[in-house]
Amino acid sequence: MGRWWLRPAVRLVAALLLPVLVPAIITALIWALPGDPASIICPPESCGGTEVLAARWNLDAGPMAFFQGWMQAALEGDFGKSWRLMQGVAVAELLTSAVPNSLLLIALALVPLSLGSVLTAQGRLPSQADPLLQVVGLVPALVLALMAAAVVELTWGANSFSTQGGLARLLAGALVLGLADGALSGTITGTRALFETENKQRYVGVAVLRGERRLANTFPNVAPALAGQLRARVLHLLSGAVVVEAVLRIDGIGDLLWAGTLQQDFGVVLAAATGFALLSSTLLVVQAVVEIAVAWHVRRAPDLGAVAGGEAR
């Protein structure tokens, strides 16, 4: 108990470092590739003026100068311009349209997961359904996304890229993300295992005998672990979002990352990866805050050991 602050502190430090480390590693990798970065954007055999390009993209002064320049601009909201995917278009523009869609997709995908988690915690989902859920969870995101894309295209036809069609793609994508790759089954079995272990604790039995609710007693103690599971689940959804957004043609950060990778557009990948790192950092901060809140709540509770010791004296 004395070092309760260690884990949240580590998470907060990691949350601060991630958005700097990720672009730093990618920058290092750009220079680690064979050939100079400017000739990756525009191979000399297919276009001239590589030196001019290198100067324009700030690639001529080495990795440190590039990284410092990129970070300074990024802190002001300027993520540079696309190198290949949409040459010359500001990456910030691409991110501005992509990030909200991805956040909405993840939020919608979390609805069935949260429902599953809450119902399991309340003991309303029978464990007999677990094998079926696990079998459904074996289906990969790509297969479910293809099925969803087919349904949307067959239902909406030429209008599948209209506003309503776009909404249908988003909802279908969220459903796919929520079900595929064991997302729902993992959430339910994880929550069940957590509460089953906690319910075996002696204090829970005593609380039930005193007429108190089981969940009200166990929840504060399992909250940090639940927050950890939630973080892992959202990271899992972010990972799957790359496939789902690309297949269902949802203009999100996952699709942007995929397109940038495919086109070797380091400008886009750098920004999209930093966006992912920022989202991951936010999750780390949320988990750290939950851990701090629970530790604070527990420390506020009366020290029964001390009370009992006092009475004995």
Binding site: A14, L142, A150, A232, L235, S239, V247, F276, S280
Partner: protein
Amino acid sequence: MRPGGRLRWAALAFGLACMLVLAVAALTAPEHLSPPQLALKNAAPPALPPLGADDRGRPLLEYALQGARVVALPSAVAGLLVMVLAVGGGLLSCVGSGKANTVIQALGEVVGALPRMLVVLVVALVVPRDARGLMPLALTWAVLAAPGAMDEAASVAQRLGGARFVEALRAHGYSGLRIFGWHVAALNLRPVVVRQGAEVTMQVVFLEIALSYLAVAEDQPSFTHADSMVSWADLLKLGYPAIVLGEPTLHALGLGLGLVGLVATFALSLGIAARAR
């Protein structure tokens, strides 16, 4: 034999049969697809046994074999790597090294802080075009999956009693190999380790299919194999228009989905086979 025992043996037999089929398919895969035969365009399996033809009259059997070659070795290596690391995590927990456990947990926190697909795509981005293949991506995926597997194996070892369990067996005069190799790893860690390894094997196959499909859909070369090869994703790409446009390629879609299902069943069966009695 008890019903549970029969199920485990059946699952083991199925899992081993799948591994054998995958290995044979990978070894017998042709270097290149056959030349087009337009007369056999989209031929159904009865017209060109055993699996039919693609939109240029080339046998789908070659797609299945080449796809097996693309995934067989990298997915097996990734699965084995995770199994070895998971056993290591479990054994460290039994040795009672608190510092090592803390380091593993910290490593897991750092490695698991980012979405796996982001890391895989960054690795795919920096692998030179002529060195592209599934292996680096599979190893990356395995390294990212390993901390979770190690953590689960360590939990199993802790439930077993950890260092006290080892101490008790030492008191019986057992050798280190017998304690760690047989009692800890083979008897107690086996269910978790084999399931984790099988799951990672399956995930690597699905990763290949996903990455290849997304690349093929954009008419771009895949990150996971040479341009001369095709993967199981090409079967899905070939078969998808059967649903949306009604093209006569349902047999390709069926084959692609069947292979995906086979891989999932393979992973499930290995998990069942390794369950504790």
